[in-house]
Amino acid sequence: MPTALKILIAGGFGVGKTTMVGSVSEVPPLETEERITEASLGIDDLAGVEGKFSTTVAMDFGRITISPELVLYLFGTPGQDRFWFMWDDLALGALGAVVLADTRRLDASFASVDFFEEREIPFAVGVNCFDGRRECTSRQVREALDLGPSTPVMLCDVRDRGSSKTVLLALLEVARAQASARLTAAAGR
Protein backbone atom coordinates (compact mmCIF):
# COMPACT_ATOMS: atom_id res chain seq x y z
CA MET A 1 0.00 0.00 0.00
CA PRO A 2 1.42 3.45 -0.90
CA THR A 3 2.15 6.25 1.54
CA ALA A 4 0.45 9.61 1.12
CA LEU A 5 2.05 13.02 1.63
CA LYS A 6 0.61 16.48 1.30
CA ILE A 7 1.49 20.03 0.45
CA LEU A 8 -0.78 23.01 1.15
CA ILE A 9 -1.50 25.80 -1.29
CA ALA A 10 -2.53 28.79 0.82
CA GLY A 11 -3.18 32.48 0.25
CA GLY A 12 -6.00 35.00 0.15
CA PHE A 13 -9.32 34.85 -1.63
CA GLY A 14 -9.14 34.45 -5.41
CA VAL A 15 -5.35 34.43 -5.57
CA GLY A 16 -5.16 31.34 -7.78
CA LYS A 17 -4.94 28.40 -5.34
CA THR A 18 -7.41 26.17 -7.18
CA THR A 19 -5.82 27.08 -10.50
CA MET A 20 -2.42 26.01 -9.19
CA VAL A 21 -3.76 22.72 -7.82
CA GLY A 22 -5.37 22.05 -11.20
CA SER A 23 -2.26 22.89 -13.20
CA VAL A 24 -0.17 20.14 -11.60
CA SER A 25 -2.77 17.58 -10.49
CA GLU A 26 -3.39 14.39 -12.47
CA VAL A 27 -7.14 14.75 -11.78
CA PRO A 28 -9.32 17.86 -11.95
CA PRO A 29 -9.47 19.47 -8.48
CA LEU A 30 -11.84 17.67 -6.12
CA GLU A 31 -13.72 19.44 -3.39
CA THR A 32 -14.63 18.44 0.11
CA GLU A 33 -15.67 20.05 3.34
CA GLU A 34 -15.42 19.66 7.06
CA ARG A 35 -17.71 20.90 9.76
CA ILE A 36 -15.62 22.64 12.37
CA THR A 37 -17.38 22.65 15.72
CA GLU A 38 -16.34 22.56 19.29
CA ALA A 39 -16.56 18.83 18.68
CA SER A 40 -13.16 19.16 17.05
CA LEU A 41 -11.95 20.56 20.36
CA GLY A 42 -12.94 17.44 22.26
CA ILE A 43 -16.68 16.83 22.26
CA ASP A 44 -17.56 13.52 20.63
CA ASP A 45 -21.22 13.96 19.93
CA LEU A 46 -23.09 16.70 18.11
CA ALA A 47 -25.99 16.53 20.56
CA GLY A 48 -26.00 19.55 22.83
CA VAL A 49 -23.51 21.64 20.89
CA GLU A 50 -26.15 23.64 18.98
CA GLY A 51 -25.61 27.32 19.40
CA LYS A 52 -21.93 26.87 20.10
CA PHE A 53 -19.30 27.68 17.53
CA SER A 54 -19.80 25.80 14.30
CA THR A 55 -18.87 26.48 10.70
CA THR A 56 -18.31 24.54 7.52
CA VAL A 57 -14.97 24.88 5.80
CA ALA A 58 -14.51 23.75 2.21
CA MET A 59 -11.29 23.16 0.34
CA ASP A 60 -10.15 21.58 -2.88
CA PHE A 61 -7.29 19.27 -3.67
CA GLY A 62 -5.50 17.38 -6.39
CA ARG A 63 -3.31 14.31 -6.62
CA ILE A 64 0.11 13.49 -8.05
CA THR A 65 1.21 9.86 -8.13
CA ILE A 66 4.96 10.08 -7.58
CA SER A 67 5.55 6.31 -7.71
CA PRO A 68 3.64 3.14 -6.85
CA GLU A 69 4.73 3.72 -3.24
CA LEU A 70 4.20 7.46 -2.97
CA VAL A 71 1.19 9.70 -3.60
CA LEU A 72 1.27 13.45 -3.12
CA TYR A 73 -1.89 15.43 -2.41
CA LEU A 74 -2.06 19.19 -2.90
CA PHE A 75 -4.64 20.93 -0.75
CA GLY A 76 -5.84 24.42 -1.61
CA THR A 77 -6.81 26.07 1.66
CA PRO A 78 -10.10 27.99 1.72
CA GLY A 79 -9.08 31.57 1.01
CA GLN A 80 -12.25 33.23 2.19
CA ASP A 81 -12.51 31.38 5.41
CA ARG A 82 -10.48 32.44 8.41
CA PHE A 83 -11.50 29.25 10.20
CA TRP A 84 -9.45 26.83 8.13
CA PHE A 85 -6.70 27.32 10.70
CA MET A 86 -8.92 25.37 13.11
CA TRP A 87 -9.01 22.41 10.75
CA ASP A 88 -5.96 20.84 12.37
CA ASP A 89 -5.93 17.87 10.08
CA LEU A 90 -5.40 20.15 7.08
CA ALA A 91 -1.96 21.49 8.06
CA LEU A 92 -0.80 18.72 10.40
CA GLY A 93 2.01 16.67 8.91
CA ALA A 94 2.25 18.69 5.68
CA LEU A 95 5.61 18.54 3.86
CA GLY A 96 5.24 22.27 3.41
CA ALA A 97 3.15 25.03 1.89
CA VAL A 98 3.07 27.43 -1.01
CA VAL A 99 1.68 30.82 -0.02
CA LEU A 100 0.28 32.51 -3.11
CA ALA A 101 0.22 36.27 -3.15
CA ASP A 102 -1.40 38.86 -5.38
CA THR A 103 0.62 42.07 -5.46
CA ARG A 104 -2.60 44.12 -5.46
CA ARG A 105 -3.62 42.57 -2.12
CA LEU A 106 -0.48 41.46 -0.34
CA ASP A 107 -2.11 41.90 3.08
CA ALA A 108 -4.34 38.90 2.26
CA SER A 109 -1.25 36.69 2.58
CA PHE A 110 -0.15 37.87 6.03
CA ALA A 111 -2.25 35.36 7.97
CA SER A 112 -0.91 32.38 6.00
CA VAL A 113 2.71 33.53 6.30
CA ASP A 114 2.31 33.92 10.07
CA PHE A 115 0.65 30.54 10.38
CA PHE A 116 3.46 28.61 8.66
CA GLU A 117 6.23 30.63 10.29
CA GLU A 118 4.86 29.97 13.76
CA ARG A 119 4.65 26.24 13.17
CA GLU A 120 8.00 26.07 11.37
CA ILE A 121 6.31 24.50 8.37
CA PRO A 122 8.55 25.01 5.32
CA PHE A 123 6.99 27.39 2.80
CA ALA A 124 7.70 29.38 -0.34
CA VAL A 125 5.85 32.44 -1.59
CA GLY A 126 4.56 32.45 -5.16
CA VAL A 127 3.57 35.83 -6.55
CA ASN A 128 0.85 35.09 -9.08
CA CYS A 129 1.37 37.47 -11.98
CA PHE A 130 -2.16 37.87 -13.29
CA ASP A 131 -1.90 38.57 -17.03
CA GLY A 132 1.83 38.96 -16.82
CA ARG A 133 1.50 41.83 -14.35
CA ARG A 134 4.81 42.30 -12.58
CA GLU A 135 4.43 45.62 -10.88
CA CYS A 136 6.31 44.36 -7.82
CA THR A 137 9.71 42.79 -7.68
CA SER A 138 10.23 39.75 -5.51
CA ARG A 139 12.38 41.94 -3.24
CA GLN A 140 9.49 44.32 -2.62
CA VAL A 141 7.20 41.37 -1.81
CA ARG A 142 9.82 39.94 0.53
CA GLU A 143 10.00 43.24 2.40
CA ALA A 144 6.25 43.78 2.50
CA LEU A 145 5.67 40.28 3.91
CA ASP A 146 8.70 40.58 6.19
CA LEU A 147 10.11 37.23 5.06
CA GLY A 148 13.32 35.69 6.31
CA PRO A 149 16.22 35.15 3.87
CA SER A 150 15.59 31.40 3.65
CA THR A 151 12.03 31.79 2.31
CA PRO A 152 11.98 31.84 -1.50
CA VAL A 153 9.81 34.37 -3.30
CA MET A 154 9.07 33.51 -6.92
CA LEU A 155 7.08 35.31 -9.57
CA CYS A 156 4.82 32.75 -11.23
CA ASP A 157 1.82 32.07 -13.44
CA VAL A 158 -0.21 29.41 -11.68
CA ARG A 159 -2.05 28.50 -14.92
CA ASP A 160 1.21 27.16 -16.24
CA ARG A 161 2.31 23.72 -15.09
CA GLY A 162 6.01 24.48 -15.50
CA SER A 163 5.69 27.65 -13.45
CA SER A 164 3.74 25.88 -10.67
CA LYS A 165 6.34 23.09 -10.64
CA THR A 166 9.11 25.65 -10.13
CA VAL A 167 7.35 27.07 -7.06
CA LEU A 168 6.72 23.59 -5.63
CA LEU A 169 10.38 22.67 -6.15
CA ALA A 170 11.48 25.88 -4.38
CA LEU A 171 9.31 24.92 -1.42
CA LEU A 172 10.68 21.37 -1.38
CA GLU A 173 14.20 22.79 -1.47
CA VAL A 174 13.38 24.59 1.81
CA ALA A 175 11.94 21.37 3.23
CA ARG A 176 15.07 19.49 2.21
CA ALA A 177 17.32 22.10 3.83
CA GLN A 178 15.26 21.81 7.02
CA ALA A 179 15.49 18.01 6.94
CA SER A 180 19.21 18.12 6.39
CA ALA A 181 19.64 20.64 9.25
CA ARG A 182 17.74 18.20 11.48
CA LEU A 183 20.22 15.49 10.54
CA THR A 184 23.20 17.71 11.35
CA ALA A 185 21.65 18.74 14.67
CA ALA A 186 20.99 15.10 15.57
CA ALA A 187 24.55 14.12 14.68
CA GLY A 188 26.00 16.95 16.77
CA ARG A 189 24.13 15.90 19.89
Partner: protein, 124 residues
Protein backbone atom coordinates in the same frame (compact mmCIF):
# COMPACT_ATOMS: atom_id res chain seq x y z
CA UNK B 1 -40.40 39.73 8.29
CA UNK B 2 -38.79 36.32 7.97
CA UNK B 3 -37.36 34.98 11.15
CA UNK B 4 -33.59 34.83 10.59
CA UNK B 5 -33.35 31.78 12.81
CA UNK B 6 -35.45 29.89 10.32
CA UNK B 7 -32.81 30.39 7.66
CA UNK B 8 -30.07 29.42 10.09
CA UNK B 9 -31.88 26.16 10.74
CA UNK B 10 -32.26 25.46 7.03
CA UNK B 11 -28.59 26.08 6.56
CA UNK B 12 -27.61 23.97 9.55
CA UNK B 13 -29.93 21.15 8.47
CA UNK B 14 -28.00 20.69 5.27
CA UNK B 15 -24.88 19.92 7.26
CA UNK B 16 -26.34 18.12 10.25
CA UNK B 17 -28.19 15.53 8.20
CA UNK B 18 -25.05 13.61 7.14
CA UNK B 19 -24.43 12.83 10.79
CA UNK B 20 -27.66 10.84 10.86
CA UNK B 21 -25.70 8.25 8.83
CA UNK B 22 -23.25 7.92 11.71
CA UNK B 23 -25.89 7.94 14.42
CA UNK B 24 -24.77 11.41 15.46
CA UNK B 25 -21.14 10.43 15.94
CA UNK B 26 -18.63 13.01 14.76
CA UNK B 27 -15.62 10.87 15.64
CA UNK B 28 -14.88 7.18 15.71
CA UNK B 29 -14.28 5.80 19.18
CA UNK B 30 -11.45 3.46 18.17
CA UNK B 31 -9.82 4.64 14.98
CA UNK B 32 -8.41 7.96 13.88
CA UNK B 33 -7.97 8.91 10.26
CA UNK B 34 -6.17 11.79 8.59
CA UNK B 35 -7.32 13.57 5.42
CA UNK B 36 -4.74 11.57 3.50
CA UNK B 37 -5.07 8.21 5.24
CA UNK B 38 -5.31 5.75 2.35
CA UNK B 39 -8.10 3.20 2.20
CA UNK B 40 -8.33 -0.02 0.16
CA UNK B 41 -11.27 -2.40 0.11
CA UNK B 42 -10.44 -5.95 1.10
CA UNK B 43 -11.50 -8.55 -1.39
CA UNK B 44 -15.05 -9.75 -0.65
CA UNK B 45 -14.13 -13.36 0.10
CA UNK B 46 -12.04 -12.18 3.04
CA UNK B 47 -14.98 -10.37 4.60
CA UNK B 48 -18.51 -11.22 5.65
CA UNK B 49 -21.62 -10.09 3.83
CA UNK B 50 -23.25 -7.95 6.46
CA UNK B 51 -25.88 -5.58 5.14
CA UNK B 52 -24.27 -2.16 4.82
CA UNK B 53 -25.49 1.41 4.79
CA UNK B 54 -25.50 2.66 1.18
CA UNK B 55 -22.74 5.16 2.01
CA UNK B 56 -20.51 2.42 3.41
CA UNK B 57 -21.14 0.28 0.35
CA UNK B 58 -20.14 3.26 -1.81
CA UNK B 59 -16.87 3.60 0.10
CA UNK B 60 -16.08 -0.05 -0.64
CA UNK B 61 -16.80 0.59 -4.33
CA UNK B 62 -14.65 3.71 -4.54
CA UNK B 63 -11.68 1.99 -2.85
CA UNK B 64 -11.80 -1.30 -4.72
CA UNK B 65 -9.27 -0.60 -7.49
CA UNK B 66 -6.67 1.55 -5.76
CA UNK B 67 -5.77 3.18 -2.45
CA UNK B 68 -7.94 6.28 -2.04
CA UNK B 69 -7.42 9.05 0.51
CA UNK B 70 -10.17 9.82 3.02
CA UNK B 71 -10.50 13.32 1.51
CA UNK B 72 -11.06 11.80 -1.94
CA UNK B 73 -13.72 9.47 -0.59
CA UNK B 74 -15.45 12.46 0.99
CA UNK B 75 -15.32 14.34 -2.31
CA UNK B 76 -16.70 11.40 -4.29
CA UNK B 77 -19.52 10.77 -1.81
CA UNK B 78 -20.18 14.49 -1.23
CA UNK B 79 -20.06 13.98 2.53
CA UNK B 80 -18.15 15.90 5.21
CA UNK B 81 -14.74 14.42 5.93
CA UNK B 82 -15.60 13.60 9.54
CA UNK B 83 -18.60 11.51 8.46
CA UNK B 84 -16.38 9.50 6.13
CA UNK B 85 -13.89 8.96 8.95
CA UNK B 86 -16.60 7.49 11.18
CA UNK B 87 -17.87 5.21 8.40
CA UNK B 88 -14.31 4.08 7.63
CA UNK B 89 -13.79 3.37 11.33
CA UNK B 90 -16.75 1.02 11.27
CA UNK B 91 -15.53 -0.64 8.06
CA UNK B 92 -12.12 -1.12 9.64
CA UNK B 93 -13.71 -2.65 12.74
CA UNK B 94 -15.51 -5.05 10.43
CA UNK B 95 -12.21 -5.84 8.63
CA UNK B 96 -13.69 -4.75 5.31
CA UNK B 97 -10.93 -2.24 4.50
CA UNK B 98 -7.18 -1.91 4.88
CA UNK B 99 -5.74 1.48 5.76
CA UNK B 100 -2.37 3.19 5.54
CA UNK B 101 -1.85 6.20 7.79
CA UNK B 102 0.46 8.99 6.60
CA UNK B 103 3.79 9.44 8.41
CA UNK B 104 3.18 10.68 11.97
CA UNK B 105 3.57 14.39 12.67
CA UNK B 106 6.57 13.56 14.86
CA UNK B 107 8.12 11.44 12.11
CA UNK B 108 9.65 14.33 10.14
CA UNK B 109 10.33 13.69 6.45
CA UNK B 110 13.84 12.56 5.55
CA UNK B 111 16.05 14.22 2.96
CA UNK B 112 15.69 11.12 0.84
CA UNK B 113 11.89 11.19 0.92
CA UNK B 114 11.81 14.87 -0.04
CA UNK B 115 14.19 14.22 -2.92
CA UNK B 116 11.94 11.46 -4.20
CA UNK B 117 9.05 13.91 -4.23
CA UNK B 118 11.21 16.51 -6.02
CA UNK B 119 12.17 13.98 -8.69
CA UNK B 120 8.51 13.10 -9.17
CA UNK B 121 7.52 16.73 -9.62
CA UNK B 122 10.34 17.40 -12.07
CA UNK B 123 9.03 14.55 -14.20
CA UNK B 124 5.48 15.90 -14.43
Amino acid sequence: MPDPRWFDDEEAGRHVRPYAITGGRTRHSRHTFALITLVVTRSPDETGYEPLEPESAEILDVCRDRAVAVAEIAAHLDLPVSVVKVLCGDLLNASMILVQSPPAETDKPSVELIERVMDGIRQL
